[in-house]
Symmetry: C2
Subunit: 370 residues, 2 copies
């Protein structure tokens, strides 16, 4: 089967590119002696996660318990949730502990105490890492606050909890304005985390793990000492944002959306059948944010004259900036989306493409929001 | 079961509100003698579509063939696709013609000729409406172009195609800056479509249907003569955008997202477990666009001091604009999203809430992108 025989829009995964991306990140982590634990949020696929494990990853990350349940059912036996799981989900966590090695992050002493109570009552123990805010200002303890080490010690000392160490995510790197700023953010994260671990150790606390992770700073972070684990996710597929952040080239992008021209109401305007239900309204990011909702490839090459100007749910309105386009209804293009993770979440199945081979790739953990 | 026993985030549909919304739109259409054909894109649920049919809707709209396949399998026997279905999908259209009355829109003479060839070869006929661009500049023939009536006649005369009439969607109303501008857009659509139908009839063409439809202009359009069918979708649930466009009140909004506080890293910042995988990154629209990704309700009332400032895939970063919030980890809130249709598309199942009753509402046509 040829990709052009697929119903459109279709999400295509270029297998050789994905494998090359996985190999490269694994090699970079191996070279530094850092354990790689990929975040599965990007592919949500046990098949792709197995490629990562086979190449040396020591386990996986999931975003939510629902994803962990899918991966545990697929046989993954070491799953980390870098997410502040709430004790309202105690029953599901306890059930998962019987099926897989599970750890998650905590950033609030009251929540930690609640989990401790849950575990003591259930006669179980769970591994946890304390989340540190290294500048994204989402979750995490403030590493500069006076009482942070005391809070970490308080959490680590609670019964039923096995404190493993510290965890961070430098999400602010997605908003870097330049390569230099991104590098400085990466270095600051490593320094902040290794310094904080040193302070904890000086107070007598064993910090076995220092876990960092994000795709944009990986190329800098993995040249430094001071952490034990790295948790990138997007690198398996990459996307337009990663290219715009210098983390990948267009030729590294493994996920594309195959879309079809369904209307040509004017010489300079075509309508594709891939709207926000396929590409999402996630905007472009990067050092010099480009307009539009992805890069259109024609015969494998970016056509910079075609701007995906507006998305409706089922339509992409594309403007030919030169005033005309040879594309006609029925023609197909491929699109590198702004953000690949969110595209994976929209389809039950993608297609794995390798030369002329096209095979279904079920996205088993799609839509597991709880 | 109480909603607060649900795993979060959860999509809740208030049944009494949805039924009241459906009743009101039906009454408005009935009062004008216009046939109501709701677009199912908002709920993607055969159960909700059945409520609409039971209350007088003459059929439904779907966005894509995949949705039509779901609704046809659920017994819906009159389905219209206001979308330029491409002949690449000929096999699926022919299969559907055996199961339901199917019609779709066309806006390109070459595509029309291809469909004509398909139908003649298959020994079938399909109903179609010609799409007219009434100002959104997405799909549709330009009603002011000199050759438009000739193009419509050419399409209408093709073998295998049963020309039913003209169809429009005033998507530009979502971008109106004031009530007056919205009303003028609504009136312009009615005038454009009825004038064009008159010109077609003057050229000897039977125009049985003039089909308009969108929720924002409905309250104006349904006071005018000159069309036969109305196809609103969002009105079943409404959302923050419709409130901001004057089409609904907050008390009409039937879809909310139940979300839980999972972190409180600072006195003025809480993190909810509903990110862009639940709320989407669709921004606010309306006459005076408000920032943020939805309205947070506490105990049923909007808390204007809580701003959903940023969405990650699994986190909403909420700022308390007064500098503090009493919400703590574990607490639940409800969110009226910016755009309800896209929320329905993200979950396999919502929850139908009626007083203390909470029942699953399967979203059977979710994710049918092709």
């Amino acid at each position: 089967m040829n990709v052009y025989g697929l119903a459109t829009p279709a999400v295509l995964i270029d297998r050789p590119r994905a494998l090359r991306n996985i190999d490269r990140m694994q090699a970079a982590a191996d070279a530094r002696g850092v354990r790689l634990r990929p975040h599965t949020k990007t592919h949500k696929s046990p098949m792709v996660a197995r490629w990562q494990i086979e190449r040396g990853a020591i386990g996986i990350c999931c975003a939510k318990l629902g994803e962990a349940e899918v991966f545990a059912a697929s046989g993954f036996d070491d799953i980390r949730l870098p997410y502040p799981i709430n004790p309202a989900n105690a029953d599901r966590v306890i059930a998962l502990l019987d099926r897989t090695r599970l750890s998650f992050s905590i950033d609030h002493p009251v929540v930690a105490k609640q989990w401790s109570d849950v575990m003591v009552r259930a006669g179980k123990r769970v591994e946890l890492l304390v989340k540190i805010d290294v500048g994204f200002h989402r979750c995490g303890l403030d590493p500069d606050a006076r009482d942070t080490v005391a809070t970490i010690r308080e959490i680590a000392g609670l019964p039923g909890l096995d404190f493993r160490g510290l965890l961070s995510h430098a999400g602010q790197t997605y908003h870097a304005h330049s390569e230099d700023e991104l590098r400085l953010m990466a270095e600051a994260e490593v320094r902040t985390m290794s310094d904080l671990a040193a302070w904890c150790r000086a107070k007598g606390l064993a910090v076995d793990e220092i876990s960092l992770g994000a795709t944009p700073p990986a190329r800098f972070s993995l040249h430094h000492e001071g952490f034990t684990e790295y948790r990138p996710g997007n690198y398996a597929y990459f996307d337009r944002t990663q290219v715009a952040l210098g983390a990948a080239t267009l030729d590294d992008c493994a996920l594309t959306v195959l879309a079809r021209v369904v209307s040509k109401p004017a010489a300079n305007r075509i309508i594709l059948d891939s709207g926000s239900k396929t590409l999402t309204n996630d905007g472009a990011r990067g050092f010099t944010p480009a307009p539009g909702y992805g890069i259109i490839l024609r015969d494998g090459h970016p056509d910079q004259t075609l701007l995906i100007e507006r998305l409706s749910e089922e339509h992409a309105t594309v403007t030919a900036t030169t005033g005309t386009t040879p594309l006609e209804p029925g023609d197909c293009v491929r699109i590198i989306p702004n953000h690949s993770c969110v595209v994976s979440n929209l389809v039950d199945q993608a297609w794995l493409v390798d030369g002329d081979s096209v095979e279904p790739l079920p996205i088993a953990a799609r839509g597991r929001i709880t």
